[in-house]
């Protein structure tokens, strides 16, 4: 039972007042995993900031480090991980806190919604208990207050017949309902920052729309900051203020959402956008293809990490890693020597097409690319 370790946490110190909008600052965060094969650089020098009430979309292919990044900020890493860099949350250095101290932040200030609602709920515990758990640990409410709060939480995530649900088990609910319960639990103590790690990937498209609407609504009501992790640019397009595109452990492009879609600079972002089938296109449209696969994070290439797959690649890209370069629009940064939509980029692409570089042809015509195992 929870009761035995029940304690009321002191309110975490830190500046969570709404006058200071800056909530999260991540500076040169690196998370490396020690494995028998060597050091895996899952997150390799990521910096960004997030204000309260804002949503940051974190996009990339599987294995790009987007989930590890959110777990690194939460402090939910296995013991094989080495983390360095600074994480300031409401002015507090989260990276300097141990797991004990972090417990006061988990649930109350930092919360997380995971991809699979079935595995993130306890199958043998009633819904009501699972919601009550964090309220018991973090607040000094009495039993009745907790029940009332749990009820109003279930109602706020639009679960019908909330009262009956309190006494049900997760298996009695559908996938969408379970994800609503997970969101209710994550919101129970009114966190200032919510990580939603692929919250809708396991759900149907109609339910996905409902859950994303719910997250947006809760965010506005609570003035909460949200990091929405997804592999689908479509999901984050209409739901975020800013987007960070990750590739091989690094942020390769970051911009306000509208700017990112209107003025793509990073070839990888462009490739992601073009390879997704779109309903506006007639059927049997040939899809643009990104050839190859992401680099090995144990021994990343010394130049640009996308170079081997990039249609714009030039000799310089293979030698020298581009830093995050500022674009014309404030807040827009990208890592590329020959950015999309610039004369330099156009020349590079033309040169590659003339030289019949396979990945350039694949990107333009969707031609088949060699895919041998590495």
């Amino acid at each position: 039972m929870i009761r035995s370790r029940r304690r009321v946490a002191p309110p975490p110190s830190g500046d969570f007042t709404s006058t200071n909008r800056r909530l999260l600052e991540v500076d040169d965060l690196k998370t490396h995993f020690r494995t028998p094969r060597g050091l895996v650089r899952a997150v390799d020098g990521v910096s960004f900031t997030l204000d309260r009430g804002r949503t940051l979309g974190l996009v990339g292919e599987s294995g790009c480090g987007k989930s590890v990044l959110s777990r690194s900020i939460m402090g939910l890493l296995p013991s094989t991980a080495d983390r360095s860099g600074e994480i300031r949350f409401g002015g507090i250095r989260l990276d300097e806190l141990g797991p004990k101290a972090l417990r006061d932040y988990w649930g109350t200030q930092l919360s997380m919604v995971f991809q699979d609602p079935m595995t993130s709920l306890n199958p043998v515990m009633k819904i009501g208990r699972q919601i009550a758990e964090s309220l018991e640990v973090h607040t000094d409410m009495d039993k009745d207050q907790i029940r009332e709060t749990a009820l109003s939480l279930l109602r706020s995530v639009h679960i019908p017949e909330a009262e009956r649900r309190l006494n049900q088990y997760p298996h009695e609910l559908s996938g969408g309902m379970r994800q609503r319960v997970v969101i209710a639990i994550a919101l129970a103590c009114g966190p200032a920052l919510l990580f939603a790690d692929e919250p809708t990937t396991a759900l149907d498209v109609t339910v996905q729309a409902q859950i994303l609407d719910l997250l947006g609504e809760q965010q506005r009501e609570r003035d909460m900051a949200v990091v929405l992790v997804s592999h689908d640019l479509g999901v984050v397009a209409g739901r975020t203020h800013d987007i960070a595109v990750m590739y091989a452990g690094q942020i390769v492009e970051m911009a306000p959402t509208r700017t990112l879609f209107a003025e793509v600079r990073m070839p990888y972002t462009e490739a992601l956008l073009q390879s997704a089938p779109r309903v506006e296109n007639p059927s049997h449209t040939r899809l643009a293809v990104i050839g190859g696969r992401p680099p090995d994070l144990i021994d990343p290439p010394k130049g640009c990490r996308f170079a081997a797959r990039c249609p714009y690649v030039q000799p310089r890209c293979r030698e020298e890693q581009p830093p995050l370069i500022e674009a014309d629009t404030p807040g827009h940064v990208f890592r590329c020597w020959y950015p999309v939509g610039t004369d330099k980029g156009r020349e590079a692409l033309e040169k590659n097409l003339a030289a019949e570089l396979p990945q350039a042809e694949a990107a333009v015509t969707g031609a088949a690319v060699a895919v041998e195992a590495s």
Binding site: Q208, Q210, H231, R258, S275, V279, V289
Partner: protein, 380 residues
């Protein structure tokens, strides 16, 4: 939605595969049964790709598997090359199996981790004792080459040495090695990253041309189905709602459910106007006690009293477009807003013959209440 009827079927000699009144029942607890597929008919012309779309639990995978007789349907006919597969048994059915092959959703779990690629792709040839060692080798190499894997590199490796996309290529090679006529793709790209997904979709298009394949493509992703299909059937709770060419279907959906599905697709464009939520609320009702009349009515914004009473029949509403709806969005009469009732609303005169069965939930949000999600064997 409801979709009984065969108005959408074409002339028998124009089609390669024809499925009529397919029903697949599964036993449920306490002697109940679940009709995962309830009277579905469709046909596929040679060289055509039929897309089957719908939410999970709508019966799309079950329908496709029933075509392969895995398991055989409870009722209905599956006519392929003039024979009813559902009536075949034993050796006669086994002889038909190489003609219809399937590619599954999760490429990694559909490959034996302990066997080499050569042995995996060559297994069908071995089972059918086709050719000698050298012939087999040539065929394996050809199949691997066709799916974009270098036979010399891939042959002696095992599945764990490949990425998800490459494993899916191996699965496709294995299904092609027997030269099937029909390829059933059950969510072949759902487990893959978007960049890999594009490669596999392009590959399937190439192979379709090269081998003259006829395909059934099952997916919940409407953008994917639009890309690959020549005809799309939208399923809901074991029935077909609408069937049409992809461009027609996406430009002017006739069934409210199709419209709802389309408006749920996230658009990768922040400038896209915010969608009006004419969206379906709630979730799929339990297939144990499906709503009376039209099965979609509990979530349908256009539902009328008639929808609870009478099951709509599939009928043509446009060029090659068929819909099972009393009040379709095109080619039909709009419901009178005066009498429009929410699905749960009180009956107001008219032909109100139907009283709902007591076991039924009638408000949309109630629909999934307390009913464990149905898992059909082998469903996604």
């Amino acid at each position: 939605m409801a979709g009984t009827g065969t108005a959408h079927l074409r002339d028998a000699n124009e089609t390669l595969l024809r499925v009529e009144h397919l029903v697949v029942d599964f036993p449920a607890a306490r002697g109940a049964k679940v009709s995962a597929v309830a009277d579905v008919s469709f046909d596929i012309a040679e060289g055509e790709t039929l897309g089957l779309v719908g939410e999970s639990g709508c019966g799309k995978s079950t329908a496709a598997r029933a075509v392969m007789q895995l398991p055989a349907p409870t009722a209905g006919k599956v006519i392929f090359e003039g024979k009813d597969l559902a009536a075949l048994h034993g050796e006669a059915l086994r002889r038909m199996r190489p003609r219809i092959q399937i590619v599954f959703q999760d490429p990694i779990s559909s490959l034996n981790p302990r066997r080499t690629v050569e042995s995996i792709v060559g297994a069908p040839l071995k089972i059918w004792k086709l050719g000698d060692e050298a012939d087999r080798r040539t065929q394996i190499d050809e199949a691997l080459d066709a799916v974009g894997l270098d036979p010399d590199v891939a042959r002696d490796k095992r599945p764990h040495e490949f990425s998800g996309g490459q494993c899916q290529r191996i699965c496709i090679a294995r299904s092609l090695v027997l030269n099937p006529k029909v390829l059933i793709c059950d969510e072949p790209v759902s487990a893959l990253d978007v960049s890999v997904q594009a490669q596999i979709l392009n590959l399937l298009e190439d192979l379709k041309e090269r081998y003259g394949l006829t395909m059934v493509f099952i997916t919940h992703d409407l953008a994917v189905v639009k890309n690959v299909s020549d005809r799309v059937a939208v399923m809901y709770l074991g029935k077909i709602c609408e069937i049409a060419g992809p461009d027609t279907l996406y430009a002017s959906p006739a069934h409210p459910y199709t419209a709802a599905l389309l408006s749920s697709i996230p658009v990768p464009d922040p400038e896209a106007p915010p969608r009006v939520s004419t969206l379906v609320s709630g979730e799929l009702p339990s297939p144990l006690s499906p709503p009376s009349g039209c099965r979609f009515r509990t979530r349908c914004p256009r539902a009328q009293e008639r929808c609870a009473v009478e099951e709509p029949q599939i009928r043509p509403v446009g060029e090659g477009q068929y819909v099972a709806c009393h009040f379709p969005l095109v080619g039909g009469t709009a419901p009178d807003p005066e009498t429009a009732v929410a699905a749960s609303g009180p009956a107001s005169g008219g032909n109100g013959a139907g009283s709902e069965s007591p076991g039924e939930t009638d408000s949309p949000s109630d629909a999934p209440a307390g009913t464990p999600e149905l898992t059909t064997p082998g469903g996604p």
